[in-house]
Amino acid sequence: MEPIRKEELDDQACGSMAPKSKPCPRPKPGEAAGGCSFDGAQITLLPIMDAAHLVHGPVACAGNSWESRGSLSSGPSLSQYGFATDLGNNDIIFGGEKKLRDSIDYIAGRFTPPAIFVYSTCVTALIGEDMDAVCKEASDRLGIPIVPVNSPGFVGSKNLGNRLAGDALLQYVIGTGEPEQETPLGVNLIGEYNIAGEMWDIEKLMNQAGITLLSRITGDARYKEITWAHRAKANMVVCSRALLGLAKQMESKYGIPYFEGSFYGAKETTYSLRQMAFLLNDREMERRVDRLTEREENRLAHDLRPYRKILKGKKAVLYTGGVKSWSVISALKELGIQVVGVGTNKSSDEDVQRIADRVGDDTEYIPEGGASRIIKTVRERKADIMIAGGRNMYVAMKEQIPFVDINQERHKAYAGYEGLLRLAKELVDSMVNPIWKLASSPAPWDKEGSYDR
């Protein structure tokens, strides 16, 4: 394994303004911290749906992570398979390279995937497997790309893993193919993983405006389309924390301009579409986008009316990472919701700046994790709802706090104009459900004065 230059990577993983920006916070021992780099690399690459994803390590790294993502596929399902080399005690001692080679051969022969991604894990990195060499040899022999992803869990956080996956794409995939026909108005989306089908809503909007989505990096992607990503006229970075480095390197290597944007909330969506049109530098397109966004915004405003009546003045605590930490604030503000607390645990300096631009002075920043800390904010600020990831959901339920899941396990798509409507509905549904009344009122026999004690 190539040595990983940790400090440098940390900087880049964290956001754009390196070296000024502070490095990713180091995970603190003894806390319930988040996922590992292996996890992060998988999140980024698994949505390449037609590729095979082979975990080189003990079966558990695959067994534990398998089937836990909400990225939807519109066709191929090979990425859903849990492939693992299943290293055992003996392999730890004598090495697992043969097992890896045989596994690659088997997958190539049996499933004929367009490519195989091979992930290192803590174990394979520590015992010093030369994964790159095995992959290269197999790739030459089999005639399909075999991409090593050197992102073992211990090198750092999930974000760093996203970034290492981006490196693998840059090094082995992007620039190795050509699109069938020229697409003068092609844009890549980077860091959009099609959770609950969000990519499809975005794609529909882009199509309506006449913008071609050239490569999906990587929500509902096909391997082939990523090989020609270098032919795009512009890149949009949807999840800035994760793959900004990829966009920057594409800019310097291929001269593709990029911008960071989001599709949460009508304003952000409109801005993103306009920005695409701007970078494509096509006047007619700009006009089309203006017409489209105006029409969509009007329609949304009309559809949202009944929800806004209920949501106006409600208070929310938001606890999520990266891009969502600030972009969802915009969406909530458009619904009339006040964000009284926001997590900044996984946010870069730029994220925090963006948060600050969007919230009032009295919003509480929650720098460190732990469910109890979030709950405390909800209580103190008298919030009506908590918006966070699935792992915090069950604590919220214990505390009888209405909850909306915003992370990867959810089944609702919140991007774009229609997505905002869906988010509004979800928020309302969660808050008005009769169970909250039932949960917070005492049982009849505990009611004061209802019977003599």
């Binding site: 995970p27 199509n207 069950y394 409507l421």
Partner: protein, 517 residues
């Protein structure tokens, strides 16, 4: 608000709309390198008998694993003790997987921390991570005990837990008398059940050793009590059921490793971090109990060795008691260990379940099923199938490596199958994955598959309904709250299975509707 409500479909229906379908069709052009025909051909081949053989010759790669790793089992074991914080020594990712894995099954939060080892730890060892980690964790989460388990990373670099914990005490990171137990649980050996066993055994032995007590079974106040161990138990309802049974006997008992509190706590407005669990002080006392009742003997291999060896207690070892006969055996075992007669209430309950069996048997008779799961669960399920006339055909055990007593287990399964003509069709597979199961389901079709949520894809490909039993069950709610052991559990299992069969009948394409059943 209902008048104003707008219908907003979620993805399950939304993306079947024409415009989305079209959008997806357009994407086909990227799906090279193979044509639709080639794809269809490959799919057909993967379903052929020829491939079945090839598939079973496969050595190199695991496709769709159905086991979790040792530390995950250890985390569950630790949560069975009062105010005990599971502490995973290794890089942070594993811990995050364990927490979400367990939480998705139980729909409850999982308190567990990690020592978050990084690259420097890989070079210099994880000692400082351990020391800082223990100090931070105790300050933050205020446990009364910490239970440390390792991931493969710590094992590969050879971290010495005992020395590290000792150093943490010396440095004052934790108090001298603060209990920290630990177990070595590399993920490249064994599975979740081995890890569960290792941690339970170590908690018992470490708490016992600390107490300075000597074991004297059947003496003193504790001498009338029974120790009960359920094992890696994904059903919180099973804890309630075993309590009900023991209470009916009117015997005193200690459940060693009771995570049902942590995984079935009430939503009363305040989350507390630790719920229930075996009292730490009860563990050394358990050495004086009159005997131990073990409900997952293959899971609790080392623990049993310890209890019979060091505590010198008589042990009744069973596998998950599913169905009437297995419950009968359970009651006999309790009766034998305690000297108490089987209570009337349970006898009556048994009669009711037998009645339910007779009601349902026409729909179950001769149904062919495939079973996948942990060893003790499988023994229980096979017993249940045989007593209601269901024929197990493919039996796939989630465990397989050297740590697991595969040969002994297989012999016991085969002996059990041999007791009934309904068992004659069965083949037992140890250490195979769910891609093997898929081949079996397609080539030698069955009526039902019984197993965890992970079996879903294989079952879908083969067009077989899946009865969700075992661990993990992600995609259904509250299955784990209903017991499957004891007479009540037999009734629940029966209900679950027979109603899926009946539903199949309703879905019969003949279109005939009958209301008689």
């Amino acid at each position: 608000m209902s008048k104003e409500r707008i219908d907003i479909p979620d993805y399950s229906t939304l993306f079947t709309e024409e415009r989305y379908v079209q959008q997806r069709e357009n994407k086909k052009q990227f799906e090279a390198p193979c044509s639709d025909e080639a794809k269809a051909e490959a799919l057909a081949y993967s379903k052929s008998a020829e491939y079945l053989e090839k598939n079973f010759e496969r050595k190199a790669v695991v496709i769709n694993p159905h086991k979790a790793c040792q530390p995950l089992g250890s985390v569950m074991a630790a949560l069975g003790f009062e105010k005990t914080l599971p502490f995973v020594h290794g890089s942070q990712g594993c811990n995050s997987y364990f927490r979400s894995h367990l939480s998705r099954h139980f729909k409850e939060p999982t308190p567990a921390v990690s020592s978050s080892m990084t690259e420097d730890a890989a070079v210099f060892g994880g000692m400082s991570n351990m020391i800082d980690g223990l100090q931070n964790a105790v300050a933050l989460y205020k446990p009364e005990m910490v239970a440390v388990c390792t991931t493969c990373m710590a094992e590969v670099i050879g971290d010495d837990l005992s020395a590290f914990i000792g150093n943490a005490r010396q440095k004052g990171a934790i108090a001298e008398d603060f209990p920290v137990t630990f177990a070595n649980t590399p993920s490249f050996i064994g599975s979740h059940i081995t890890g569960y066993d290792a941690m339970i055994k170590n908690i018992l032995s470490q708490l016992f050793d600390r107490s300075g007590q000597t074991a004297a079974p059947g003496t003193g106040e504790e001498g009338e009590k029974l120790n009960v161990l359920l094992g890696f138990e994904p059903y919180t309802g099973n804890f309630a059921e075993i309590r009900k049974i023991l209470n009916a006997f009117d015997t005193k008992y200690t459940i060693l490793g009771d995570h049902s509190g942590n995984y079935d706590s009430p939503a009363n407005g305040e989350y507390e971090y630790y719920y229930g669990g075996t009292k730490l002080a009860d563990v050394p006392k358990a050495a004086n109990a009159l005997g131990s009742l073990v409900l997952q003997k293959y899971t609790l291999k080392k623990t049993q060795e310890y209890i019979s060896g060091t505590w010198k207690q008589p042990i009744s070892s069973l596998s998950t008691p599913l169905g009437v006969k297995a419950t009968d055996k359970l009651l006999e075992a309790i009766s034998q260990l305690t000297g108490l007669p089987v209570p009337e209430s349970l006898k009556e309950e048994r009669g009711r379940v037998v009645d339910a069996y007779t009601d349902s048997h026409p729909y179950l008779h001769g149904k062919r099923v495939a079973l996948a799961g942990d060893p003790d669960l499988l023994l229980g399920l096979i017993g249940f199938c045989l007593e209601v006339g269901i024929e197990p055909v493919h039996i796939l055990c989630s465990n397989g490596d050297v740590e697991f007593d595969g040969k002994k287990w297989k012999e016991e399964v085969e002996a059990l199958l041999a007791t009934s003509p309904y068992g004659s069709e069965a083949t037992v597979y140890v250490g195979k994955d769910l891609w093997h199961l898929r081949s079996l389901l397609i080539n030698d079709p069955v009526d039902l598959a019984i197993g965890s949520s992970h079996v879903k894809f294989a079952a879908k490909d083969a067009g077989v309904p899946l009865v969700r039993v075992g661990f993990p069950i992600f995609d259904r709610h509250h299955m784990h709250r209903n017991p499957i052991i004891g007479y009540q559990g037999a009734l629940n299992l029966l209900t679950l299975i027979v109603n899926i069969v009946l539903e199949q009948l309703d879905n019969n394409p003949s279109g005939l509707v009958d209301l008689v059943r």
